[in-house]
Symmetry: C2
Subunit: 161 residues, 2 copies
DNA sequence: TTCAGTGCAAAGTTTTTGCAATCCC
DNA sequence: GGGATTGCAAAAACTTTGCACTGAA
């Protein structure tokens, strides 16, 4: 069957527009991006496109199953192609997003299912932590942020908000 | 050393106030709650407390290492006691939050560290999926494809957005 | 031609900031 | 008493909604 965006839209009685194609292209190119990032990308080509349209189009594309969103680090959701399935690893120091195959969580998925009956969707939410570079920075230079006092030098701390 | 809130504050030259105690109590009682939920809980006892104060106090408590926040499902962060470490399993149908021991992810943590140098913080972000009850509901109401068909019909209730 | 789709402006939400009054130490 | 804290109001950031115009089919 027709798997183009146009085809998918027509099957539902919806219409193809340049804006929709641009939004989808932007999502594909960016990998995983917030609505605002998508908007910027789109506006690089078509400055007139409104952010409202981007929001509406992302919602629509998600409803169509063409894209999906995941909640990385802070509040802003990020959109990516639906087929582009992988586990997100977000560094909450620098915000960088690594990717890992979904198989990474298959054992965990089995366990949550067996133990709690919980069907894990590995791609929807990101795992959080510290990336290679930031871990190194911590070791090397004890630069400007010794903030973590005596309390409990746990991993998670700032990097957010 | 003094591990009371008052002690922790004084060690940093900060002051103890009833509001701060109330916010901390609320976080403890609620387990994991959004700033707004914390505020409601606090206002049940002290109606005059402003939400602004709740936000500021949560930030402060986090900086002190007393509480931490995690990003469950949608945008709103939820706060919990720092010691209260576990993996969150959020159902994106009903919004329910299950908990699992952090050991659940220890193998995964080893692998991300070995493969990518990524230090996983298991407690910061929730895993997303479908809880037992919602999975059952799906079966009952039939209509096939309980697993792979996360294509279009998801995000039912208040789980998202 | 028709009505889905868009842009613009205004309204919501949620969180942050400025400041004078308050109250902890 | 002095300065950290608070409450209130306004601002900022992020999304959604209403509506008249535009354009895809």
């Amino acid at each position: 069957m027709d798997s183009t965006l146009k085809g998918t839209l027509h099957r539902r009685g919806l219409r193809m527009t340049p804006q929709r194609q641009l939004v989808l292209d932007a999502v594909r190119e960016l990998g995983h991006a917030t609505p605002e990032q998508v908007c910027s990308r789109v506006q690089a080509t078509a400055p007139a496109v409104n952010i409202t349209t981007v929001y509406r189009t992302l919602d629509l594309l998600e409803e169509l199953g063409v894209v999906r969103h995941a909640h990385l680090g802070h509040g802003a959701p990020t959109y990516s192609e639906h087929q582009h399935r992988h586990v997100h690893l977000v560094c909450h120091h620098c915000g960088r997003v690594d990717e890992a195959p979904t198989e990474l969580l298959s054992d965990v998925a089995s366990r949550t299912l067996a133990d709690l009956g919980f069907h894990l969707d590995a791609t929807h939410v990101a795992l959080s932590g510290t990336c290679v570079d930031c871990a190194h920075d911590d070791e090397d230079s004890a630069d400007g942020a010794p903030e973590q006092d005596d309390t409990a030098p746990q991993e998670g701390a700032e990097g957010d908000r």
